[in-house]
Symmetry: C2
Amino acid sequence: MKNIAANPLTQKLSAFVALSETELAVLERLHQRRKSFCAGRDLVHQGQTKQAAYILASGWVVSYKIQADGSRQIVDFQIPGDFLGLRSVLLHTSDHGVEPIVDIEAAEVMASDLLQAFAETPRLATAILWAVSRDEAMVVEHLVGLGRRDADARMAHFLLELGARLSLVGMGSKAGYACPLTQYHLADALGLSAIHVNRVLRKLRENGLVTFRDGWVTFDDYGRLIELADFDPTYLDQARPLLP
Amino acid sequence: MKNIAANPLTQKLSAFVALSETELAVLERLHQRRKSFCAGRDLVHQGQTKQAAYILASGWVVSYKIQADGSRQIVDFQIPGDFLGLRSVLLHTSDHGVEPIVDIEAAEVMASDLLQAFAETPRLATAILWAVSRDEAMVVEHLVGLGRRDADARMAHFLLELGARLSLVGMGSKAGYACPLTQYHLADALGLSAIHVNRVLRKLRENGLVTFRDGWVTFDDYGRLIELADFDPTYLDQARPLLP
DNA sequence: CGTTAGTTTGATGGTCCTCAAGCACTGTGG
DNA sequence: CCACAGTGCTTGAGGACCATCAAACTAACG
């Protein structure tokens, strides 16, 4: 038996599909072309036409769009095990920018690598498509939050979802997680001003729900936080494996 | 030469890929299992576990999520040529509801039909993946609008995007388009109250930008509307075909 | 030890929500 | 034919939520 959680993508997929030796090997092969990028230097520029897709191996990344007036909307954060820039490859042009929040390592994957892997192992293909669909579902949930949740519920939901995602790759639990985001990141993700983010965080902390401080998120009352956020982890937290 | 625009999906894809006879035939075959559904009766319920995917042949459809407090957020509208419920098939459970706005016709497609079509015609597979990626890009743009645009720009952007999509299937132009949506639909899509939607529409109309009235959208000043909305149709309006 | 990035607090005001009510149009049944 | 209910559109008044401006504070870093 190999080391099951050699990389975070494998770990994530293993939670939902029992992977065979062959499939584990294919996943490992996808991780070969490792590259490092340092924090703050855009990995992909908005509007860039030629680029590859990546699998994030370590570190945090942010995907965002800049408006004409200079304001920024963060679409999603990527954590280890997530794909970067898949859509950009298909559209042949990137509609958004991608920036490492901390120094990261990522494996470059060509469209051809992926197609070959799919042809070899159909079950793996299904697992990866599941992961991509899950990412899409998260974006939709994010959209709902921006449209129909007030600032408190939005923040609560965001912190809970991030916690659930991190748990899947062994970087978090119902107690909390390490988090390199600044309040400015939260503001740009949640469609709020950084000032209001600060007030919301204070309120949640004073109400004994969750603490965001010194690069660490602590759930003080997981149950009440879920209630406030109307958080339904179904789409993240598949109860049983999708494939036999 | 066959009738090129036998169905709206073919018409949409033809704008970006020169399709061969074989590919046209495969697309036609996907449309075989036609079904009709009447307005207002949910096609897919939020949380439903078993269902198929569809290609919309005629009519308008809305995808939405209902919150615990009863409020509704519309994620997207589908128009002829669009896919319905593709993600739900992969996730094995629907995270959103799907409701026809008017009486519609849709072709049911099984996952297996799609996979077979992909295997037969790789170029068609790429074209369809492009269409799916474009849908995703629209959801992202919608998210940005909710997070970072004020009500006026949001409305302007929405009406412009819809116009561009409809033009691709021959149902609209830079002059305007027929539109069966109510102001309540707009409110639920844009994260506003119906009352505020009404005021915004009045303002846009009085400023000579766009008129939304009696089931018809008329662009009174396309250029200024684009400027107000910061609308960039790149992601919808591929300048040159993606494939030779 | 000044600079910079990030956090915190206060004051003021605008955007947009909520409540309330009226109007126009359509279809229904007495 | 007319009362009626239902749906969708329109307008007004008051107020909540959150943005903006201004400024102080901390910690890290060269």
